[in-house]
Symmetry: C2
Amino acid sequence: MTETSAAPRTRAPRKPFEVRRAEIVRKAASFFAQFGFDATTRELAAWLGTTQPLMYRYFPSKSALIDEVYQTVFLQSWDEAWDAILSDRSLGMAERLNRFYNSYTDVIMHPEWMRIYLFAGLKGVEITGDYIGRVEKRIIRPIVVEMCAERGVAVGDDIPPALLELAWSLQGGIFYYGVRKFVYGTPVHEEKRAMIASAVNVYVTAWPRA
Amino acid sequence: MTETSAAPRTRAPRKPFEVRRAEIVRKAASFFAQFGFDATTRELAAWLGTTQPLMYRYFPSKSALIDEVYQTVFLQSWDEAWDAILSDRSLGMAERLNRFYNSYTDVIMHPEWMRIYLFAGLKGVEITGDYIGRVEKRIIRPIVVEMCAERGVAVGDDIPPALLELAWSLQGGIFYYGVRKFVYGTPVHEEKRAMIASAVNVYVTAWPRA
DNA sequence: GTTAAGTTTTATCGAACGATAAAATAAGAC
DNA sequence: GTCTTATTTTATCGTTCGATAAAACTTAAC
C-alpha cells in the first residue's frame, strides 16, 4: 500500500452527496476490515479511488466515519427473522438451531464482519458491548427458553445461569470456527453447514435432563 | 495517557543490561495488551517509568520489541505437562478434559494473553498461525485420539475431519467465554471452572457412538 | 578520588499523520 | 453559451511518530 509509483490520477467521477457518502461508508468498511482502524485516511482514499481531503466533506473526522462503519456493520446486518426461526414451535429445536445458525453465520462469517467485530472489541468500542447484549437477549436466552419448553422444563423469569453459559458455548464454538478461518486464516476441516449440524447435534443430544 | 502535567521525571534506577531488557519485554506485553500494538513508544516509556530513547538501546526497533513480546506470550507460556494430562489413560476422558482445560485456561484466560492473541491475529502475524497449528497438533488431535480410544473406536492415521471440528468446537466454546469476559468486558454467568465442567460434560456425553 | 565503561536523558531529525483552506473543475439552470 | 453551485483536487499546516546523536549521569575498579 505505498503511495509511490507517481499515481496517474484521473479525476474521480462527480457524484451526488448521498451516493458518494454511502459509497465511502460501504467501501471503508471493507477497507478497515482488512487493514484495521489505524490505517491512514490517505490509504483509504487510494482504496476509494479519490483523494484524501474529499472524505472531510462527508465526515467531520476519521472517527466519525468509523462510527458510521460500526453502525452499518453491527446494526444494519441484523435479520429480524431470526427471532421467528428460534421460536417457531412447529419445528424441533435441532431443526430450528440448524436453520438459525446457518442464516446467522451467513451474515457474520465474512472477513469484513468478523475482523471489524474483533477490532472494535479490542478498541473498547461501546457498540460491541451493546451487540453482545443483544445477542444474549435475542439469541442465547430464546435458545434456553425454547430448549426448556421442548423438554418440558419449567423455567421462570430467572433462567439458570448454567443454561445460559451452555448456550453461549454453542454460540462460541460456532463463532470460533469463523475466527480460525477468517481471522487467523488457518484451514478448517469441514464445511460450515456440517460443522453447525455437528455442534447443534451435540448440544441438543446432551442437553441436561434436569 | 497525556504526557502533559510537566512530568516530574526522577531518573530511572540503573540496571544491568539483561535485567532491564527482560523488564521491558515483560511490561511491554502488559502495555501492548491494553493499548494495542499501535500505541506509541513514548506512551510505553511512560508506562515503564523511563524515557523513550532508552528502548532503542535494548531493541533495534519497535517491531523487534513486539516480536519479542510474541515469543514470551505464545511460546514461553506453553505447559509441557498438558500432553501428559490428555493422554493419561488411568483417568476417564471427562476427568482429563476438565483437568486440562482448567490448567490451559489458567494460562490463557487473562486480558494480556487474550488481547495479544487477537491483536496479533488481526495483524496477520505469522506466529499466531503457528500457535493454532500447535494447538491442533497437541490438543485437538490428542483429544480426538483419546476419545476414540476410550470409546473403542478404531482410528488410523487420518482422523475423521468431523471429529476434529467437534473437538475444535469444544475448544472454541471455552475460548469464547474468555473473549466475552476479557476482550468485550461483558458479564459472564458462571465461574470458569463450572463453565468448563458443563462444556466438557456435553462433549463427552454426546460424543458420537460411531 | 580519579578514571573508565556503561546507562539514562535531553534534544532533535525526517517522515507520516489528521485536518484545513483555497484553487480547479464538472454539471445543471436558464 | 453563460452563470451558478456543488464537487473534487492541490497545496499546506501543526502534530506526532519512530528513530538517532550527543550530552549527562551512575556505578564500580583501582
